[in-house]
Amino acid sequence: MMEPIYQLSNLQKIYEGRTVVDIEHLEIEPGEILAVVGPSGAGKSSLLRMLNFLEYPDNGELRYQSKPVTPNLPIEVRRQVTTVFQHPALLHDSVENNIRYGLKLRGQSDSTDQVHSVLERMGLVALRKAQARTLSGGEAQRVALARAMVLRPAVLLMDEPTANLDPYNVGLIEEVARQINQEMRTTIILVTHNVFQARRLSSRVALMLNGRIIEIAPTHSFFENPTDPRTRAFVQGEMIY
């Protein structure tokens, strides 16, 4: 059996005296697509920031590839993980240069082929010289995914990547995420409000509520035989608190 890529134990994140993430135990397997669902304010995005080493737990332990995560984590390890956020923050530059940015940070200046292949896959070739600020929401999100994909990360975190996008862009982004997972064996952790998207994409689903993992199960079981009444309510589209 493979070692989990992430191990969380008694992990807590506290903002201004309020515990926003409180996870007793969670293991994430390499190569899986884990969807984290739950209402707003459940702590999903805070969890992703810790998994991307952008923030650190206040209590408990987070291990990545069996090593404890601390602020002194080597940059080579940090660079194995990246996030596509809900609102793509693009640089004031061309589409092509935005996609090349992460490679440049890694000192990979000769990256034309890689960038071109990603541009093609994301349907962005015609826009490659366009300024990022002129793009529509869907195009900008495709650039954000392309920028992450070109880095071939070990872990791709996606925070509501298709919220407010049209069906074409939703379909394209989901398809590319699936391909990244299958071809590169990239572990994907997807935070979403959209239970249908979680069902379409993931191999496991976790429900988060008030910072805690209420239930985690393979996708089929999660939707067909939920054990917790709150999960049952959530998958049926009811409000849970």
């Binding site: 996030t83 956020f85 923050a89 640089l91 940070l105 890694r106 954000a144 992450a148 880095l151």
Partner: protein, 263 residues
């Protein structure tokens, strides 16, 4: 003055007071106009005295600007990007520095460098002497640096905070993140540097006090304008004034062009 007689005679009654006022105004305007013509001639024919002053001004303010930018841009980025204890106090000091009267800076540098002052008597090799170009540069650096820090701080703070998070998520080190934010805030940083230049190229108090306005050695545009006006050489004073205005216009035009490109 036939035109003048016609003009005055047609519009106004011939009272001695009004007539005197108009004659005075006419003389002043004519002198001013002659000054502008002569100033432009001196400028465009490459008058050696005028150009010596222009080049010295460019040298003093140019070196001061480079030093102030090297100090001010990173410090402004540091203050704009980081939260630490005492940050507000540091900000208040920077804002105070932005409003420092140049004469007070001149006085402080004078006290610091004069032989009866703090550093002057130590005769250290790296301490500039009073009434030299390096002393003027020190004064101008003190004036421009807070200006550049303050404007850079604001420019950096206005960059979308999500971008910093995104850049870090893409694998940027702390330095790479700062550089990315500075790049995003580049127009604001350019405005900061231009603001710094504006504050020193046109100031007269500090360079007069620590430079002494010595002919061929520490005479710059502003001190020369003062001197030539006092001497009654309005043509040269106006020529120098035109150069200052032109410089100011070119700088501002450059900034507006840059701002246009950024939108």
């Amino acid at each position: 003055m036939p035109e003048f007689e016609v003009f005055v005679g047609a519009k106004h009654p011939q009272t001695p007071q009004i007539r005197g006022l108009f004659i005075f105004s006419y003389v002043v305007m004519e002198q001013l106009w002659d000054g502008i013509r002569e100033g432009l001639r001196l400028f465009f024919t490459g008058d050696p005295i005028l150009w010596e002053i222009i080049l010295l001004s460019a040298r003093v303010s140019g070196i001061a600007l480079v030093l102030s930018s090297v100090l001010g841009v990173p410090l402004g980025a540091l203050l704009g990007l980081n939260r630490f204890k005492g940050r507000r106090l540091v900000q208040a000091i920077v804002y105070t520095g932005m409003g420092l009267p140049p004469v007070v800076v001149g006085l402080a540098v004078y006290i610091l460098l004069s032989q009866g002052g703090i550093l002057g008597p130590l005769n250290l090799a790296w301490v500039p002497k009073l009434f030299t170009v390096p002393a003027m540069i020190v004064a101008q650096v003190i004036i421009a640096t807070p200006m550049i820090i303050g404007y850079t701080m604001s420019a950096v703070a206005e960059v979308n905070p999500d971008l910093r998070l995104q850049v870090r998520s893409l694998g940027a080190t702390r330095l790479q993140t700062t550089l990315a934010v500075l790049r995003e805030a580049r127009l604001g940083v350019v405005v900061a540097i231009v603001g710094g230049l504006g504050s020193i190229i046109s100031e007269v108090g500090a360079v007069m006090m620590v430079g002494g306005n010595i002919d061929g050695s520490t005479r710059v545009l502003t001190t020369a304008i003062m001197l030539e006006t006092r001497r009654g050489n309005l043509d040269l004073a106006i020529g120098l004034g035109i150069v200052l205005l032109l410089l100011s216009f070119l700088i501002n035009f450059g900034v507006t062009q840059l701002q246009g490109k950024g939108k």
